[in-house]
Symmetry: C2
Subunit: 411 residues, 2 copies
Amino acid sequence: MPRLKGFEKLTNIEEAFSVFSEKLKAKRLKSVQIPVGKAFGRILAIDVKADYDLPRSDRSAVDGYAIKAQNTFEASQFNPKRLRLTEDEQVHENEARQIWTGNPLPPGADTVVMLEHTRRIRDGIEVLTPVTLGENVSKRGEDVRKGEIAVGAGTRLKPHHIGLLAALGLTHVRVVEKPEVALLSTGNELVDPGCRAESNQLVDVNRLIISCMCSELGAKATDLGIAKDDIDEISARILKGLEEADVVIITGGTSVGHADLVPAAVNKVGDPGVVVHGVAMRPGMPTALAILLGKPVFMLPGNPVAAMIGFEVFVRPLLFKLLGIENDPRPMLKAKLTHRVASVLGRRVFLRVHVYERDNEFFADPVRIKGSGILSTMTKANGYVMIPEDSEGLEEGESVIVHLFDKIVVA
Amino acid sequence: MPRLKGFEKLTNIEEAFSVFSEKLKAKRLKSVQIPVGKAFGRILAIDVKADYDLPRSDRSAVDGYAIKAQNTFEASQFNPKRLRLTEDEQVHENEARQIWTGNPLPPGADTVVMLEHTRRIRDGIEVLTPVTLGENVSKRGEDVRKGEIAVGAGTRLKPHHIGLLAALGLTHVRVVEKPEVALLSTGNELVDPGCRAESNQLVDVNRLIISCMCSELGAKATDLGIAKDDIDEISARILKGLEEADVVIITGGTSVGHADLVPAAVNKVGDPGVVVHGVAMRPGMPTALAILLGKPVFMLPGNPVAAMIGFEVFVRPLLFKLLGIENDPRPMLKAKLTHRVASVLGRRVFLRVHVYERDNEFFADPVRIKGSGILSTMTKANGYVMIPEDSEGLEEGESVIVHLFDKIVVA
């Protein structure tokens, strides 16, 4: 079987990414100091160590009475232990002092008995159950110890991280700058979103989709517009992108059919230019990877779905490198495949599936496809399954790992 | 065993939410028209129907040659079928016309043979394999049919939805307005984030955490500050919140110990006031739900973790109602519990777990806790397991459903 020149050798995904990464040697971007309140979703640039113990002193974890545990050891519902209520600073033998959740434990007390386990009497309380030493007390430093790393570098800051950083007294945090990604579409047939396409035209949706995917990961997209199928125009725009941004993504014109316009335009800009062209994956086979001025340039197929998969496989991990994140996989789950699916030997196939839950079991329903351009396969799916290169397909009922990109439906 | 006055009756979660919802009768907020390019993450307010078929005409799904399938039925590698190359508008018997991915199929052709399955000869091509009728053709309307609902009301717009809407020629979409949520913290012991807390003070992290949780869901938080433990001050701020926002959330001061300050302040503002106080859950037991001026008012515990769980259980579904979303569960997966865990009969326990993957198996490691205030249990966990009210605990190795709030680690 004859092979096409440009794709004489399809590189497998891991090899493509490692060849590219070794040449690129991407480093984490610079960091910037911002207020904690604005850091949600950003990537922490340095380990944040606790300046003090948290809690700062022993505190009550419940509403109740601060006591000495040993005074209750013989207490029971039929033989309650009476303790005298005090409002003194110090709690003495057989005394109890009322305390609310979060209050520091008064000196002398070692334990808190819950309100519910006491009964109020005239000048004191009755404890109805023995209390273990230290019960209901949050020990000083129990949450975070002084000097301990509270939140590590490379963490994407979720609400609870923001809370912990603020609890440690931080007003500002150092986060990694947002990678800037310049987006270019190519093709004489393309018109901008919002323009009505004639029957021989196509609305270019790739820049929109990819700019959303960028912002989802914490990167910032800038727009290089649509270039005509013209080498000079394309390379001029690539150059502009390289001046402004950390990453350039070009969609369209990478398939061999399109006379290799984009790879030629890339190689015209400089060295080393294209380092991988043609990847053993489906969809996304015409994906190409290049390096210009030390920056990564991704050439993704014009097909929106193939472009999305190309982004997922190559751009996503590169953005993580720039952000200083080790690994940030999508949520995954195991599900039962509802239908047999054929695959292609020698290609990693990204099977779009619709996952749903029924009776605590997860099922993955393959979304029937034909042609990678079918956007509705993405809107009907909520995840994908990777079928490895050495597999001819998956059987009905087989257990598969699904990478989720949208929510699960409970059937 | 004596019970506390305020919590004489703990309501179970479903009952609490249904009592509250029935009285509140929350409706979806108004909608607003915005550019498609700004709609990422917003909630679509109306069903969007396709104005035209997508693709708009039969198109090639590959790079290759447009042909008549019947001309290739006897082709094989040893007996290739020769076709004459044409550049005419029309493809006739035994002719082939070059075509790139996405191009409309020329009249006369019914099928596309992939470049890889052909060999170029002087004035034509040789087809090396029979091609099925319609192969490699994306039929008109195959993606979305004219009049079909392309993206439904209540959809949170992901990159692929934005792409599909733009492909359908939309410049603007109608989305649901962002719910405004006013956040108030109460407690004499609280200081603002950024202020250094004395040993008897606490940094108030709840407004920060909850404002992040709101923005995660597509709501907008406004700040009512910290109120002292004073009924008049608290009710004045609640009133301000009700004037500005769709939802008011108050943290702190709901535990019975705190003399019921916040519920009293809420009831002072108007009717019906507090409708649920005390929920059979852990953490989050002192949660209270109220209605004022027809708007929901949530009173969450002062403990940050308890407040987060209270938000998860009650505020989240209410915000979904305001946004017009039926159901938007967190990503879930099944995992094996690594340790036995005791629970409390009669309470729904929210067990924080750390989920990791090893050899294609997911494991959930319970994060050891003591007191719900321990924020690091949230930063160490990436999900939670609900232990039902009628369970005394979970066994080691038991299969559990984990609701994920952070990423999974591959061990």
